[in-house]
């Protein structure tokens, strides 16, 4: 199982994502200007401030050459995970529904938040912590532009279609996201974006290993469906 982590100018959590993915499989960096996904089984678009977040978060990165390959990979059913800035990039690229707006506080927020897994039967959430009564994850958020927005009817549709995979637990919404949405997937279910940073919750030294759920799930899915 090989993960590819896209590196844009201004990516900051790329090495973090690489190290996290390395805990469950192999991982390589994918350079923004290349047209090559190096045969990876899953793509991670990491956090950071690609292109300085100038103009709009994710707006410029989505046109990087490598993104054409990522889009094609996604159309063919490949797993694509967008974390924070990666989520913003995938929304801008229309691989995911909705948009991310500045936090209601208008400030950057770093916080360890509790998340509820809405669906535990997806390629990104299937490895939820065994035996946990309510499947909750403790994962940090850190962003200025993380308020998930979509028009009301679109939100209804997303919920009905089961595309909302993660919600901030009551009282934990750090940014004013509509319906406490922390992470959504596309219709096919193979592209997933979330504002919290699972790659920063994979080591007991950092206080939580709940983020491994996401990476473990991806590996399980790939091993079952792609490599099998």
């Amino acid at each position: 199982m090989k993960f590819g982590i896209v590196r844009f100018p201004g990516s900051c959590d790329d090495i973090d994502a690489l190290q996290a993915a390395t805990r469950v499989g192999e991982a390589v960096l994918l350079w923004h200007a290349d047209h090559d996904l190096q045969g990876v089984d899953a793509v991670i678009v990491p956090g950071g401030f690609s292109y300085g977040d100038y103009l709009r978060a994710g707006a410029i990165a989505r046109f990087a050459p490598v993104m054409a390959q990522v889009e094609e990979f996604a159309r063919e059913g490949g797993l694509v995970l967008g974390i924070c800035n990666g989520f913003q990039v995938l929304c801008e690229a229309h691989l995911l529904p909705g948009a991310l707006l500045p936090n209601v506080s208008l400030k950057f927020v770093f916080r360890q938040v509790e998340l509820e897994i809405v669906r535990a039967d997806t390629p990104f959430t299937r490895a939820r912590i065994p035996g946990a009564p309510t499947p909750r994850l403790s994962i940090p958020v850190k962003h200025t532009t993380g308020r998930f927005y979509a028009p009301e009817d679109e939100l209804d549709r997303l919920e009905a279609a089961g595309q909302v995979l993660l919600r901030y637990a009551p009282g934990h919404n750090p940014n004013g996201s509509l319906r406490d949405i922390a992470g959504v997937c596309n219709e096919l279910g193979n592209v997933f974006g979330l504002m919290p940073h699972p790659e920063h919750a994979v080591d007991p030294l950092s206080g939580s290993t709940d983020g491994l759920t996401i990476f473990d799930s991806m590996r399980a899915h790939v091993e079952q469906h792609v490599l099998a």
Binding site: G10, C12, D16, Q19, K107, F108, F110, R111, L205
Partner: protein
């Protein structure tokens, strides 16, 4: 003023040079300097670049240590942290720009200190900030400065992907007109990647990396603008610089790759005085000359004059020297990172800094005149004959119960929770952070071999105002105590000396005494000073700021998994008081709340006793015998206990030693530790962890939830 009406003699004064200094220039050069030369000299001989009033004093600071790899004189100092790795670090001030525009001032302050660290080849891995403002309650301006400076620090650090892992903030009337914004950065490098700034090898090429050169920070030198430039050109010399963390992120990655590929001979950031200081310092430390061709320099503005190009302080630029055969590969690496790179000159024999513009020589100065001939002044210190600082307004009358006093302290701006601030900083990017803000007294960052480094920054100006020598020493001791609480041993320290006008005898006295105190404390602990920064003239008509030496200390602990925490961890644990603790009320937080001026003698320190207390805590944390440790600082033992309860979400009941004033202070000497009762044999046990209240026998009992909400509310009202 246009140049046609001002004589050259008048100009040197406009540029900040005294008549004596100008005479010295004429003498050293044996001729009259040209315009560009005068601009260059005036900046290199300024306080900021030349350290005219502090250089002699700084020689008092001990700079030898067995872990030292790079000492003062380089862009950042560095210490060995084992496993072939080095940690480079430095603290720097950006006080004056931040007072003008706090967001950009603080942001570019962070950008500047990051460049100093990657200029020595280290990847920046952590930022800390040390901030001082006026009283938030009385001053909307102070609240504005706080809010915007914090946003600016977060903006730069967060966007460039370097975690901000710690810091400190104090509010005192004396900073009302002169806020202090100090930023510290740590970087990590394999030993072999550390690089010095000394240029070498005549025939080698000088390359400018990074942002375009604009009319930033030309300030005082603009009196040299030629008369022909039209009206409104003044407006084109921005008084505020905009930080661009995106450009610096690319520059940083690019420089580290150039070093990894061994393409550089030397590297230097562009800071104050821009190209002038970068080129002359590189030449001076290498004992060579440098020739620059200004026509090669990519400009942001058309028609910039030569002196503007030479003194521009545009951010996000670096200067490097490379062998000619490496330049092709160097440019290719830069192109990949989308970093602008331009060959702008070369290294020469001799010691001339020569500047060409459109084929003619516009400056040709011996580097020794720019650097070594800068006059150094002796201070004329005299202790003040009357009180320098007026008493603060009293918040407490003195009739309050101990419980009310404790709650008032926890709510006070200097002690309240910093959460509203540190939540605006990313403390975890790069995945090394083991202890983030509020978890322990020092930030802890894991290293690849399983060990970790710890870092803390401290400097309580009010105590230094009481007693500059002991107060400055306390800053060192408190840093070391913070490191002990996580199990770390100090390796080195950096400092930033923020003071008023050194030409005034009482400020000179504060400065001299404080440096003596720092030196004594460093010697007592055996910790070398690896570098630092000096910010003088922080003075308003109402008087100088509190003398504020800010100390940043880096240490190491062998096992990251054993890093200490400050919160009580388990019901039934015994609580002990470690260290000889004879605190005094002078200079304490409570004395401030009660409206006392910062005067009075601070408690003396016995270095031996202090070191053994630190060692006991350090080894208790390392062995796991102690489950928490917290040093007793502002607010005394009562506040320290409350903080342990709040952080752990657990109560405690204790009996203090007879006669111990619960709110008196003696930072750096003593600790509250807790652990299983059997493990605490040999410690002075004063109580145990448990329940929902903090109960101090015969004094107070308060719900932990009430302590928590008092502490959480404090700053939230202002940020």
């Amino acid at each position: 003023m246009s140049s046609s009406t001002s004589s050259l003699e008048a100009r040197h004064r406009q540029l900040g040079l005294t008549d004596d200094e100008y005479a010295r220039i004429l003498d050293r050069l044996g001729r009259t300097p040209g315009d560009v030369e005068l601009a260059m000299l005036s900046l290199m001989w300024s306080e900021h670049c030349g350290y005219k009033h502090s250089r002699r004093l700084l020689r008092r600071l001990p700079t030898e240590g067995r872990h030292l790899l790079l000492g003062p004189g380089e862009n950042a100092g560095a210490v060995d942290v084992g496993d072939g790795l080095a940690v480079a670090f430095k603290v720097e001030s950006h006080n004056h720009p931040s007072a003008v525009e706090p967001f950009q001032g603080a942001a570019t302050g962070v950008g500047g200190i990051l460049r100093d660290v990657f200029a020595v080849g280290a990847r920046p891995i952590a930022v800390l900030d040390s901030l001082r403002f006026g009283e938030p309650l009385d001053s909307p301006r102070s609240r504005y400065l706080l809010e915007r400076a914090v946003a600016g620090i977060g903006h730069y650090g967060n966007s460039i992907g370097v975690p901000t892992v710690g810091g400190e903030i104090y509010f005192e009337q004396s900073y009302e007109q002169n806020c202090l914004i100090n930023a510290m950065c740590l970087g990590l490098a394999p030993h072999e990647r550390l690089i010095r700034s000394a240029a070498a090898g005549p025939g080698n090429v000088v390359v400018l990396l990074g942002a375009l050169t604009g009319r930033d920070g030309i300030g005082g030198a603009s009196v040299l603008a030629s008369a022909e430039l039209g009206e409104g050109d003044e407006a084109k010399r921005p008084s505020v610089q905009i930080g661009d963390p995106f450009t610096e992120k690319k520059l940083l990655e690019c420089c580290l790759e150039l070093l990894d590929r061994e393409l550089l001979v030397s590297l230097q950031d562009l800071g104050a005085a821009g190209l002038t200081s970068a080129a002359s310092e590189m030449a001076a430390s290498g004992g060579v000359g440098i020739t620059l061709d200004l026509c090669q320099i990519p400009l942001r503005e058309v028609d910039m004059e030569p002196f503007e190009i030479m003194v521009s302080e545009s951010q996000e630029r670096m200067l490097c020297v490379a062998r000619p055969e490496c330049v092709g590969e160097l440019l290719a690496v830069c192109e990949r990172w989308e970093v602008l790179a331009t060959t702008i000159g070369g290294v020469t024999d001799g010691d001339a800094l020569q500047v060409l513009h459109r084929g003619s020589v516009v400056a040709d100065l011996p580097v020794s005149v720019l650097i070594d001939d800068c006059p150094l002044y002796d201070l004329r210190p005299e202790p003040p004959s009357s009180e320098l600082y007026s008493p603060p307004e009293a918040v407490l009358g003195g009739g309050e119960s101990p419980a009310e006093t404790l709650l008032a302290l926890l709510r006070s701006p200097n002690l309240a929770s910093r959460r509203p601030v540190f939540e605006q900083y990313d403390p975890i990017v790069q995945s090394r952070t083991v202890r983030r803000p509020d978890e322990a007294d020092a930030a802890v960052l894991a290293l690849p071999d399983g060990s970790a480094i710890a870092v803390s920054i401290d400097g309580n100006g009010r105590r230094v105002a009481c007693d500059p020598r002991r107060g400055a020493a306390e800053a060192v001791y408190e840093c070391a105590a913070n490191l002990a609480c996580v199990g770390a041993e100090p390796l080195g320290l950096t400092n930033c000396l923020n003071f008023g006008n050194p030409e005034k005898p009482h400020v000179a006295w504060q400065l001299t005494e404080a440096v003596e105190g720092l030196a004594e404390a460093c010697e007592a602990l055996g910790v070398p000073v690896v570098g630092g920064n000096v910010s003088l003239y922080n003075e308003a008509p109402s008087g100088p700021i509190f003398p504020t030496p800010v100390v940043g200390m880096v240490g190491r602990l062998p096992d990251a998994t054993r890093a200490g925490r400050l919160g009580f961890a388990a019901e039934g644990d015994a609580i002990a008081l470690v260290g000889a603790f004879e605190p005094s009320a002078a200079g304490s937080e409570l004395s401030k709340l009660r409206g006392y001026a910062p005067v009075g003698e601070l408690p003396i320190v016995d270095a031996q006793t202090l070191r053994s207390a630190h060692a006991a805590v350090r080894s208790g944390i390392r062995s796991g015998a102690l489950r928490s440790a917290h040093d007793i600082a502002e607010g005394g033992v009562a506040v320290a206990l409350a903080e342990c309860c709040i952080a752990g979400g657990l109560g405690a009941s204790v009996r203090l030693p007879d006669g111990l004033d619960p709110f008196a202070e003696a930072p750096g000497r003593a600790f509250i530790v807790a652990g299983p009762p059997a493990a605490l044999e040999g410690f002075a046990v004063i109580g145990q962890v448990g329940g929902d209240t903090l109960a101090i026998a015969g004094l107070l009992e308060v719900d932990v939830s009430e302590l928590t909400s008092a502490r959480e509310r404090g700053l939230a009202e202002w940020v």
